[in-house]
Amino acid sequence: MNTSTAESLPLGTTAHYATMHKWLQRALLVCLTVLVLEASFTLPGLLIWFGWPTLSLVQVCDELMKVRYSDDNAQCLVPQPLFIASEGQAYKKSAQDDWGIQPRPRYKRIGYRDLVRFRDERLAREAAAAQHRGQLVPASADTTPAEPASPTH
């Protein structure tokens, strides 16, 4: 950039500081650009990382809760009713931590699209457990004939 004449210098910049101001201006423009891009793409980027659109937004929220509290039953109430206790109060007992003066969390790390995987694994687990229960039902149905309908028949 031409700094040899006073005319080419921006208002307020003396020749002595011209180079410094030029570099500051470039760095400011870089910061502005990156901040704007980050702010714009954080939410969509996170959602894609987590598992949207395979999972709905509420499902992503649910899966995050299940990871945070290491509890398959944890879920997001949408909408959260006003004036009730913070959502974490209901699940805090199941959270995995090494407690101490500097606590350390023990939840699972969330890699690319892991929430989809966690959900599939949990559904498979639940299906297996249901099937296991289903196999037990006919055996017990014999002893309780008053049962109106058995799901296996």
Binding site: L24, Q25, Y107
Partner: protein
């Protein structure tokens, strides 16, 4: 602007007209940059606001090339950037503070926490006010919104108006950035287990994401070395 004001007023026929044209050109540029900045401050709409801002900046640069006395480009950048930096910080933290049980906040803030900063994931929405439960974090959040970011935004507006108080107060609030960065990072380091254990991108992630918020440190050298005669009382 005021370097021209040192000429005796009225002595030169074109002077008043030149001042008028300059003010109008500046206003025309700001008309694009202000909505652009408001949109960029919201975060997600920034991608719409950015072209508006750049268009305004282009108008301003062209006006300067045409010989009109408009704001220096670097003053425009500093002014709007400190406003954007403060708005983005405040918006995120206000959501965590007062809208912490909304779906959008549980996705963006707690989700961001799970990836970049465990302080926003670990036992999130568990203390009675909701939001982050990381040691010290709520206190930083409230004090920085109320003191630093509010003040920095006001000073940024003053700077854009080329007011002396704007320059002076922006110096003060940019130096506060030093306390913010040193104190906040030390807190994170001391409670590093909460902040970084078992998140997606420990340490690296936070630094790459957040380092671009160092804008006050880029403003300080300029504000101390600019010829302050260009700011008016």
């Amino acid at each position: 602007m005021s370097t021209l004001a040192q000429k005796p007023p009225g002595s030169f026929g074109g002077y008043d007209a030149h001042q008028d044209h300059s003010a109008q050109a500046q206003k025309r540029a700001d008309k694009w940059m202000i909505p652009g900045t408001l949109l960029m401050g919201t975060g997600i709409l920034g991608i719409i606001g950015f072209p508006l801002f750049l268009w305004g900046l282009r108008l301003q640069v062209n006006a300067a090339k045409a010989g009109l006395s408009v704001r220096p480009v670097i003053v425009t950048l500093i002014g709007y950037l400190v406003i954007i930096d403060s708005t983005l910080n405040s918006a995120g933290w206000m959501m965590d503070l007062v809208a912490n049980h909304t779906l959008i906040n549980r996705l963006i803030t707690a989700g961001w926490g799970a990836v970049f900063d465990g302080g926003y994931f670990w036992h999130y929405n568990e203390i009675w006010v909701g939001g982050t439960g990381a040691p010290g974090e709520k206190a930083w959040q409230i004090s920085l919104i109320m003191v630093v970011f509010c003040g920095r935004m006001a000073a940024g507006i003053g700077l854009l108006q080329m007011k002396r108080w704007g320059q002076q107060w922006l110096i003060v609030f940019c130096w506060m950035g030093l306390i913010v960065w040193i104190g906040y990072n030390l807190n994170m380091t001391f409670y590093g287990d909460v902040r970084y254990a078992n998140i997606t991108f420990p340490v690296w992630g936070w630094w790459i994401y957040d380092i671009f918020y160092i804008t006050p440190f880029l403003a300080i050298p300029y504000l101390h070395t600019v010829n302050r005669e260009i700011f008016s009382d």
